[in-house]
Subunit: 137 residues, 2 copies
DNA sequence: GATAAGGTCTGTAGTAACTACAGACTCAAA
DNA sequence: TTTGAGTCTGTAGTTACTACAGACCTTATC
């Protein structure tokens, strides 16, 4: 069913396989309205096509790049509107890029403290520990 | 009440002020067993002392350094046992450090893609957009 | 045709680490 | 005494999933 109708009807598991997405996540994306409700067979099985594959890939790629689902929803809204401008998308991307850079800076600071502290450890069977002192300070 | 008993009884809001911790978070940490249940007044108000301040600061500092609550629970268990060794703590720290470094590497890769893509944007009022093409690819 | 295996359906619960709120109670000061 | 502020409890909401139970459907095999 689905697949033989026109040679391109995909079931949920097919969509999952094609995109690498988790099976349940597809349903979740539909529920929160970031993936459109697909047509159904008579017995209520979801039927996807290539546009669903493309959209889900877009979302997954965006997630890989650290966009939140809300940001992707907005990005997709611009795409769907069909009249988005490069300027709008660029602004969102630069905002996100700034957040990513902030996170990197935060983590680098954490790394610095952890590395410096661990380096002070004797690693021996002693109760004194620089890490615990750092945490307590 | 609390404060005048011996000059060091702290109420929940006092503990929050002293540590910078959110008021509700204190109750949450108690609920999940990472902060001990403090003694109570007759009317069931929590009463904290300096040891609670120290422990909460330990937790908050650990969170700042990216340790999970589970990791901190383990760290505190070692502390409470009183016989922890520097070696045990060092191992946990180095494991965490490795995770932090992985996260930094991931984010740097993301940053690279985002920066390169945004740089390609004309920023103009055109519908073509390198960001969207990157996401779709 | 019967049956068994596997896919899909729904709703719901669990995860991390909080944060916030409602409604009841208590405390301190004017 | 009354008012305002603080505290108590339990519970719900957040992000982005993931997993499961129990019912239904489809497909293959005999």
């Amino acid at each position: 069913m689905g697949d033989h109708v026109s040679g391109k009807g995909l079931k949920r598991a097919d969509l999952a396989r094609r995109t690498g997405c988790n099976l349940e996540t597809i349903r979740y994306y539909e529920k929160i309205g970031i993936m459109p409700e697909p047509p159904r067979t008579a017995s209520r099985y979801r039927v996807y096509d290539e546009r669903h594959v493309a959209r889900l890939r877009f979302i997954l790629r965006g997630r890989e790049l650290g966009f939140s689902l809300d940001e992707l929803r907005e990005l997709l809204r611009l795409v769907d509107r069909g009249t988005q401008t490069c300027a709008e998308v660029k602004t969102m991307t630069e905002q996100h890029l700034a957040e990513v850079r902030t996170k990197i800076a935060d983590l680098k600071q954490i790394e610095k403290v952890l590395a410096a502290t661990a380096a002070q450890c004797s690693g021996g069977e002693v109760p004194e520990c620089p890490v615990l002192e750092t945490l307590a300070s």
